[in-house]
């Protein structure tokens, strides 16, 4: 039984670490702030959840509660950060125009209402 548990933990911990690593690859390689947020919001969240689960399996059940709280607050705060950073990026013209094929938000926030890009 404990061997099975160890194997499951190991898979979850290593898999989780791998997702965190790939998230950082995404942050490095994607073209603009919002594309990078995708990597941080998804791959990194799943990586963290897997690491928490793997750690919870190796500890006494009473340590699972704080770990579950970490998971809960991670899930609750990710959309908030995503939206704040996304809004700000859009309004400061930080999105890479070249990679954007369609932009429905331009009707709500016309280009003249945005701050010029810091790169210009």
């Amino acid at each position: 039984m404990s061997v099975v548990l160890d194997v499951v933990s190991a898979v979850l911990l290593i898999g989780g670490a791998l997702f965190c690593l790939l998230a950082s690859v995404g942050v490095l390689r994607f073209p603009d702030a919002v594309c990078r947020l995708h990597a941080a919001a998804k791959a990194q969240t799943l990586g963290l959840l897997m690491i928490l689960l793997g750690a919870a399996l190796q500890n006494a059940p009473r340590y699972a509660v704080p770990l579950a709280l970490v998971a809960l607050f991670q899930l609750l705060t990710i959309p908030v950060t995503g939206q704040i950073v996304g809004r700000t990026a859009y309004r400061t013209s930080s999105l890479s125009e070249a990679s954007l094929t369609e932009d429905a938000l331009a009707r709500r926030v016309p280009p003249e209402e945005r701050l010029p890009s810091p790169d210009d």
Partner: protein
């Protein structure tokens, strides 16, 4: 007991429970201290009321939770692959997503659900107009912007089917509009 106090009772209990859980050793000091901290937090922070009219349908909700987890795994894998395979060449689109959801809680959940869907991230919420503006990574969503939008809308319908109110005429009142805040410009700089 009057209604405002009663309405804030769940928040009080949650904060109290959270305090005790974080200390993880429930001694008398922790329990009494937790109650005092929870009370003072609620006294200091005045949150606006949230319209939360929902009807819970357990089976559909369970199916939705399963979908949420499955979506998170798929989208994390897809975005990780895109980072390695496509990197700087990824294409994106911002699509509009008109919502069926009409209460604050449902809009929040729709945002969460959209955020875990493969390749999509909510950029902006137009609460009055009931529209989400979603940033879609096209390689991750595997297709065109229109196709991605249709999938997102289908997900949102499932959410409303699981938690939408039985009586659609009982529309919760929107909070008063916030004072208009123009995008902050560095005029004073």
């Amino acid at each position: 007991m009057n209604r405002p106090v009663l309405r804030r009772l769940p928040a009080l209990l949650w904060l109290w429970l959270l305090w005790v859980l974080l200390w993880s050793t429930p001694s008398a000091l922790v329990i009494v201290g937790g109650l005092l901290v929870a009370l003072s937090v609620l006294a200091v922070s005045r949150f606006p009321g949230v319209s939360r009219q929902i009807t819970v349908r357990p089976l559909r909700l369970l199916a939705l939770c399963w979908r949420l987890v499955a979506n998170l795994v798929v989208s994390a894998t897809a975005v990780a692959w895109a980072a390695v395979r496509h990197g700087p060449r990824v294409r994106a689109a911002i699509v509009e997503m008109p919502l069926d959801a009409d209460s604050d809680l449902l809009v929040t959940l729709a945002t969460l659900l959209t955020n875990v869907s493969p390749g999509s991230l909510v950029l902006e919420i137009d609460r009055r107009g009931g529209v989400l503006y979603v940033h879609v990574l096209l390689v991750v969503a595997s297709g065109e912007a229109g196709e991605a939008r249709r999938k997102l809308l289908a997900n949102e319908r499932r959410l409303v089917a699981a938690l939408g109110r039985d009586d659609p005429d009982d529309v919760p009142p929107l909070p008063p509009p916030p004072p208009s805040t123009p995008p902050s410009r560095k005029d004073d700089a």
